[in-house]
Chain length 156, copies 2
């Protein structure tokens, strides 16, 4: 299925609400109410977002969360990495490539290439893009020309 975790998905939903709120700080309760997520789940999501530096937290009474940067400066890659760690399609592509298989690990470097492509796709789409229906339509519409462009780069 090549899927990301649900928490990552939740993260995007939460960030969307925070972007909507702008300068107004949202409490855990607010976020739970707005998104429909369970409170403990929201806590877990917020921890990851704060740890990764995408969200600022203010403790104490009248505290809450707000975006650490403008939506246009928050890349999908940042979000994915906040929840899933570094993008590594295969074990081999990870930092410590420990291949059990003797022979065919010459392929590992190639996975690295695909990894980079994936990473860069995620790096070029921001939270702002995903919130804007117009930008999204462009993204889908231009998906086909993209193949032509990749062809120009002589990948295949």
């Amino acid at each position: 299925m090549l899927k990301i975790g649900k928490l990552t998905d939740y993260g995007v939903v939460v960030l969307n609400e925070l972007a909507q709120a702008g300068a107004v700080k949202l409490s855990t309760d607010d976020i739970a109410g707005l998104t429909g997520l369970a409170l403990p789940t929201v806590r877990k999501v917020m921890k990851a977002l704060v740890d990764s530096g995408l969200v600022m937290a203010q403790r104490g009474a009248r505290g809450g969360y707000r975006l650490a940067r403008a939506p246009g400066q928050i890349r999908m890659l940042d979000i994915v990495q906040a929840f899933e760690g570094p993008v590594a399609l295969t074990e081999c592509a990870a930092d410590d490539h420990q291949c059990d298989i003797t022979a065919s690990c010459s392929l590992s470097a190639n996975w690295g290439g695909i990894n980079q492509l994936m990473t860069q796709v995620l790096a070029r789409v921001t939270l702002q893009d995903i919130r804007n229906p117009e930008r999204q339509e462009r993204l889908v519409r231009d998906a086909v020309p993209l193949t032509t462009l990749i062809e120009l780069v002589n990948i295949s």
Copy 2:
């Protein structure tokens, strides 16, 4: 981690050996020996490859496996789908988008866009590309310019 399953990785390794063998049929034992994979694991891998039509099987004595198409005609997307099913980063992006969350599911369509980009990246890289070190180097080297190209397409 955004990773694919190990079986998918094994699949690539096996396909690489089959490409190497060319017209010569390889038995399950041969493949296990060449790749270092356990025999039952090889069986599982071969089932997926045969079911997906990427590999032809001949039963009986002197049987074995061979590629159903030329390596240049086997896309990474085909391989991934053979093991992982359709590419769907989120539940929402799947065919039956059943969102538990009430509000923010306007985002689902956007995930679809990213999905398409991912899919197309996988569709443009073939087994032949991944086997050729030279092509692979080009892929990695040109990864940076790619961002510029995507920019031209006005994604962000």
